[in-house]
């Protein structure tokens, strides 16, 4: 079986997919990739299912070597990446020849980068998915020396580029009222939407803390409300008054009141906001939320039509061609766009 070998690795790299369905009743949240749009982008670049497992890289990538010629795609937060020293475009697919070294460094924009492989990472499913769920103790962060099994690639072109929809600098996040929005007095809700928050350094796959100047948010009796269901995107206000956007690995129930719920299509923007980025919130109606979801899905469906051959500068092409002469690999980097 061919594998992807981890030669060195950043501190927060995990295997992710679309997460689990049907485990909520057992207290296990959906989990899965923080930025699901990045999964769709990688799937479009490689012409395969968005349900296949990928590597999610929080802030820093790693060095990898494949046991076979491997199609890869790089999406989500932009990271510095090379194959045997030759610079790679982000938001693009490439051929990683067998034995070559793929080196993915720190993020230059955003928070979570994604490495997709042709055929997906073929770990056994646990409770219906391959995604690591750190909060539940399912799977683990990757370590040097790990060998990841590769699925069967149905094949396709590489050297393709997909413009990444801009979601890496914070911005305005749309929310609908949550179950407990009414518990917050109107002046608190007004102040919430008027506040420019900055993404705190305290953020992980469970949630993203929002920092702001000025006083925090609270409800009367807020520490004694009945524990109730949580959905991803709920913005929980704990006792210290700072809002917390609950993300992929959130708890499934909780008693701290929630001031709103982020639209699923805006969650990638929250996930990808780097520490210090500014976020603000705007309430929308359910009809507006559904219309936004409709547009988001239409954009995902249209991703394949946005794909263009990579345009390379001559310096990179020379490096890559010389590499190909040595390795005998002749596909994947044709600047003319003929990828057969």
């Amino acid at each position: 079986m061919s594998t992807l070998t981890v030669l060195s690795i950043g501190p927060g790299v995990t295997v992710q997919d679309m997460g689990r369905s049907g485990t909520l009743a057992y207290g296990l949240s959906r989990g899965g990739a923080m930025d699901r749009l990045a999964l769709a982008e990688g799937a479009a670049l490689l012409g395969q299912s968005a349900d296949l497992a990928v590597l999610e890289m929080a802030g820093m990538g790693g060095r990898f070597e494949a046991g076979r010629d491997l199609r890869i795609a790089l999406t989500g937060a932009t990271m510095r990446a090379t194959i045997d020293g030759a610079k790679l475009a982000w938001g693009a697919s490439h051929l990683l020849p067998r034995g070559a070294i793929l080196d993915i460094g720190p993020v230059t924009a955003g928070a979570y980068g994604y490495l997709h492989v042709g055929g997906g990472i073929d770990l056994p499913q646990i409770l219906g998915a391959r995604s690591t769920h750190l909060a539940a103790g399912l799977g683990k962060v990757l370590a040097t020396g790990d060998q990841l099994p590769l699925g069967t690639d149905t094949g396709g072109d590489t050297g393709l580029h997909l413009p990444q929809s801009d979601r890496f600098n914070g911005g305005t996040i749309r929310v609908v009222p949550s179950l407990q929005t009414d518990l917050f007095p109107q002046d608190q809700r007004d102040r919430f939407t008027a506040t420019r928050f900055s993404r705190d350094t305290r953020a992980n796959r469970m949630g993203v803390r929002l920092a702001s100047e000025g006083e925090g948010f609270s409800v009367s009796g807020g520490l004694s409300v009945v524990s109730e269901l949580i959905v991803p995107g709920d913005i929980q206000v704990t006792g210290d008054g700072a809002p917390f956007v609950l993300m992929a690995e959130s708890q499934t129930t909780g008693g701290y009141p929630r001031i709103g719920t982020v639209l699923p299509c805006d969650l990638p923007r929250v996930a990808q906001a780097p520490a210090g980025a500014t976020l603000d919130f705007r309430f929308v109606t359910m009809d507006e939320a559904l219309e936004a979801e409709r547009r988001f899905r239409a954009e995902i469906k249209a991703l394949p039509t946005q794909i263009k051959p990579l345009v390379r500068n001559p310096h990179d092409i020379r490096d890559l061609l010389s590499y190909q002469l040595i390795s005998g690999v002749t596909t994947g980097y044709d600047p003319e766009g003929d990828m057969t």
Partner: protein, 245 residues
């Protein structure tokens, strides 16, 4: 349970879910209603429903918001709600009673004294009160396989902490608002850590990954720290169980 005319109440939860609540606060009838109503929704098998679950007093349904969404599911919920008085429903079948060895206080559970003080009890009274309570699993939630257990005597109607405790270990027994939670993972919490068990609630490699079910009952038996340490290799942590008849 008062006959509050505002319940049962249907509300949206996010853009892709509906929540049917049977009470404002935890009560046994509201909890039984939530469990029985979810079972009825599952039996009904409506088009578009992707997942269901229960919380303490509510039944939740998730669906594709652009499929047969809230507009088609809400009327079906209203019809099903009208079929009977759900707060009169029976508890689930096949319930079990667990006796779980527990270290109260010490450095294994450092917030016992603080919790007792908030409840207005001495430490001895607190241990006596909690360890003699036979509590029921009202829901599984927060973390995998993790039970909310209730209801404790009124004296335990204490709020959560204002700040989160950064981590409590797996097997921690915590208290707030007349309920206990037994933690299945190491996690932050706003509840106070009063006891420590060696009971594993989530066993992903086993045929029964989630041990407890809503309706099961439990009692937390005082145990010395050195005895609990001996149980750390046993996934049941020395707990025994019997079927409730």
């Amino acid at each position: 349970m008062t006959d509050d005319p505002t319940f049962p109440r249907i509300r949206s939860a996010g853009t892709d879910g509906l929540l049917v609540s049977f009470g404002e606060r935890l009560s046994e009838p509201a909890n039984r209603a939530a469990l029985a109503f979810r079972a009825a929704v599952d039996r009904a098998g409506w088009a578009g429903v992707e997942e269901t679950s229960t919380s303490l007093v509510s039944t939740y349904l998730r669906f594709d918001p652009l499929g047969p969404g809230a507009d088609s599911i809400r009327p079906q919920l209203e019809t099903l709600l009208a079929e009977k008085t759900w707060t009169d429903a029976d508890l689930p079948q096949g319930r079990r009673f667990f006796r779980i060895p527990t270290v109260y206080g010490t450095d294994r559970a450092p917030q016992l004294a603080e919790a007792a003080e908030v409840a207005g009890l001495s430490v001895e009274q607190a241990i006596d009160s909690i360890s003699n309570a036979r509590v029921r699993v009202t829901t599984i939630g927060f973390a995998p396989g993790q039970p909310y257990l209730g209801e404790l005597p009124e004296v335990w109607d204490i709020p959560r902490q204002s700040a989160l405790t950064p981590t409590v270990p797996m097997g921690a027994l915590v208290v707030a608002i007349r309920q206990l939670v037994l933690f299945s993972v190491t996690t932050p919490t706003g509840w106070r850590h009063i006891g420590q068990t060696a009971f594993r609630l989530f066993r992903p490699d086993s045929d029964t990954p989630f041990v407890l079910r809503p309706g099961d009952e439990a009692q937390f038996i005082p145990t010395a720290p050195d005895q609990l340490a001996n149980m750390d290799t046993d996934p049941d942590g020395g707990a025994t169980s019997e079927v409730i008849r």
